[in-house]
């Protein structure tokens, strides 16, 4: 096991992939000479050269579409879209081509493309740089949507994604890049389908993914001091969603609280809530609760941004509302 940051873990996974498979190449804005907008690909250009690490013009549609074409042509591209905000410019290629070509061609075409995208708010980047739209992607059949929250997952899930025959989107929350963790570089295979119970508990299931996992764990710690044992689930993957793990947890705790940084209305937390209702209705002691982002374009000022994003205090308060007071 090696200790490294999330950023280093992604880099290590890409290095390993580039080394071991000639078909793999990285393409995106500023991934080469600049070293990556989040310094993830630092050093890769020097090691692998400009054929394998390609700086693309600011043409999201073209280079994501080219990634699709390259995958059709036998390559295994890792496309980096700088942030989920800019991915909107490539949405046509993603939705109408990447996700659709297999079924639309009657099963003839396979698009084994991996797309890495930084996501989320919390660094005062303001309204056009702070979106959390993974839920929109998770809506689309034909692709997989992964949300690694730990360095170990950042490493393993990328390597596993490169073995998938269809497009895989990895959403890396921008606040996680410097977080440290242990990764196992000798492991042979990695799971991308199961949610993880990162803290076992009996009183309430706290369900979250990606950037809000840290705050959720903090909240769980403080809830424990108040006598409430929370079970924390890191979803890891939004599509396909690991419903059995969620349902099993709710069957045990009888209460669910979903924490999702995205705007509440129509967010992915609504989907999880619906699935809990459909599959675990009889196990519920309280309605499924949600702590989500405030419905406002992300403001710049720090105190306003903090008020917009889910915080540990809100998670604690929401949990206390649905867990009965212990005598």
């Amino acid at each position: 096991m090696t200790r490294m940051t999330y950023r280093e873990a992604v880099r290590a996974a890409m290095r390993k992939a580039l080394k071991e498979d000639d078909r793999v190449f990285l393409m995106g804005e500023d991934v080469g000479r600049y070293g990556g907008a989040f310094a993830v690909s630092l050093g890769l250009l020097a090691e692998f050269g400009p054929e394998r690490v390609r700086d693309a013009p600011l043409s999201e549609s073209a280079f994501v579409g080219a990634g699709i074409g390259a995958a059709l042509g036998g390559m295994r591209p890792i496309i980096e879209i700088m942030t989920i905000n800019f991915s909107m410019l490539a949405m046509d290629q993603i939705l109408n081509n990447a996700a659709t070509l297999r079924h639309m061609s009657g099963g003839q075409l396979s698009v084994p493309m991996v797309v890495r995208v930084a996501t989320g708010g919390g660094r005062q980047m303001a309204a056009q740089h702070s979106h959390s739209l993974e839920g929109w992607y998770a809506h689309i059949p034909g692709i997989k949507v992964l949300t690694p929250a730990t360095a170990a997952d950042a490493y393993g899930m990328l390597l596993a994604a490169l073995r998938e025959p269809d497009p895989v989107f990895l959403f890396e929350h921008a606040t996680l890049y410097s977080v440290e963790g242990e990764i196992d570089e000798t492991a042979e295979s990695f799971d991308i389908a199961q949610a993880a119970i990162v803290r076992a508990g009996t009183d309430v299931s706290l369900i979250t993914y990606g950037g809000t996992l840290g705050k959720t764990m903090q909240a769980a710690g403080r809830l424990a001091e108040a006598g409430i044992e929370a079970e924390v689930i890191d979803l890891r993957t939004l599509r396909p969603l690991d419903t059995p793990t969620i349902v099993h947890s709710v069957a045990k705790t009888h209460r669910a609280l979903i924490i999702d940084e995205a705007w509440r209305t129509g967010s992915f937390s609504a989907e999880i809530s619906a699935q809990i209702m459909e599959n675990a209705f009889d196990d519920l002691d309280a309605p499924v609760a949600r702590v989500c982002g405030a419905e406002v374009p992300m403001p710049y000022a720090k105190h306003l941004e903090e008020a917009t994003l889910p915080q540990a205090e809100q998670i604690i308060a929401a949990a206390q509302e649905i867990v009965p007071r212990h005598g």
Binding site: H254, D282, D285, P324
Partner: protein, 395 residues
């Protein structure tokens, strides 16, 4: 005779109005000629004819609006392709049924339980379920949840209060009561969710008993085999041919299990019942099964079973012969999908080859989950068990 029909001139066109005919009856037309002007919602369109021949008759007059597909004219075709290439069917695809307006069903609310008042009860789903399982009237429980909602804790508290004597403060439920509750809840759920069917058959046991007596002569008293072990082994081996009975019902689906772990129902002193597994029952010798069965019973009564033994069973066998019961029609333990019951061995008149004798017989029953198996298969299974008990040396 070829038909000229009102053509589909756009994705959402359902009808068109004939403005005028561009040709006359008797005129010769060629494929591709404009034969009419038709008005649609979008524009007036010149419509071509696809046949070559002479116009025989007009069936629609200018000014008439007709649905797409309506025959508007008849054309006497000339020079059909050679017989080697018959003309394609010109049958119009049947007009699609008009899209029914999506029926918006009124929200159907579950009728309140017949014993409840008309005022709506606020109770959480899990609390409602526990109240039903314990036979507690939810309306009698005071709710401490938001808006007076009755919660799980509220029902549990009410259950304890009911069990306690009025002058004594409610004690913590003892283990036996909790077990009874759990069993009760499980059995109620089983009956509620699983559509049970029942089959029984009478098994002639003289061969098995005789064989067993012979075998036991070779063994010391401590190692003697009881006939129950023959029953377990017969069931396990028969299950190999009927894997659908050896599975679990999980998430609304039957899941076959590759290994056969027969759960044996063991009654506990002081009430209560457990049904731990004899792992890989079909692969154990009778002696091994006997040893492990004895060990299971002892540990069950001492309360030291392993959790895997409790969660492993893929099917359960219950034998109430010792209690003097002739036939057992049991309730399946979810998530299993079958339960086999054996009654006591009794001597009964037995007709065979035209003669009546007295033979020891045993009633074997199958309670089956009708979602997973049916009487036909269940019957065949019981027959397989019966067959094996006629050849005890093969067990």
């Amino acid at each position: 005779m070829a038909e000229f029909v009102m053509p589909q001139l756009g994705a959402d066109m359902s009808a068109g109005k004939l403005l005028q005919w561009r040709k006359n009856v008797g005129d010769r037309v060629e494929r591709g000629d404009i034969i009419a002007d038709v008005e649609t919602d979008k524009a007036d369109i010149e419509v071509e004819v696809f046949s070559t021949g002479t116009i025989e008759k007009f069936l629609i007059q200018p000014g008439e609006k007709v649905p797409v597909g309506t025959v508007m004219a008849l054309i006497h075709e000339v020079g059909e392709p050679t017989s080697a290439v018959p003309a394609p069917s010109r049958e119009l695809a049947p007009a699609p049924a008009p899209t029914p307006a999506v029926a918006v069903l009124p929200l159907r609310r579950e009728p309140p339980p017949s014993t409840a008042e008309v005022t709506r009860l606020h109770i959480s789903p899990v609390a409602r379920k526990l109240a039903a399982d314990l036979g507690i009237d939810p309306a009698s429980v005071s709710g401490t949840g938001p808006g007076g909602r009755v919660t799980l804790e509220d029902v549990q508290r009410a259950a304890q209060a009911q069990a306690a004597k009025p002058s004594v403060p409610a004690p913590e439920l003892d283990r036996a009561t909790r077990m009874r509750q759990a069993i009760g809840a499980a059995m109620a759920r089983s009956k509620r969710e699983i559509p049970h069917y029942y089959l029984s058959t009478t098994i002639e046991m003289s061969r098995a008993i005789a064989w067993l007596a012979q075998e036991n002569l070779k063994r010391s008293v401590e190692d003697r085999l009881v006939y129950g072990v023959l029953l377990l082994k017969a069931v396990a081996m028969a299950l190999r041919e009927f894997p659908e009975l050896n599975g679990l019902w999980i998430d609304g689906k039957a899941m076959k299990k590759p290994e056969i772990h027969v759960g044996v129902a063991i009654s506990l002193r002081g009430g209560g019942l457990v049904a731990p597994a004899l792992q890989n029952t079909d692969r154990q010798s009778l002696d091994e099964l006997m040893k492990r069965f004895r060990d299971l019973v002892q540990r069950a009564r001492a309360g030291s079973l392993r959790s895997s033994e409790l969660s492993d069973p893929t099917i359960t066998v219950t034998s109430l012969g010792e209690q003097g019961v002739e036939a057992v029609f049991g309730v399946i333990y979810p998530p299993q999908v079958a339960l086999i019951g054996f009654g006591k061995i009794v001597e009964r008149p037995w007709a065979s080859e035209g003669q009546i004798t007295v033979r020891p017989v045993l009633t074997a029953t199958l309670s089956g989950d009708h979602r997973v198996s049916d009487g036909h298969r269940g019957g065949l299974f019981l027959a397989a068990v019966e067959r094996r008990l006629q050849e005890p040396s093969q067990l």
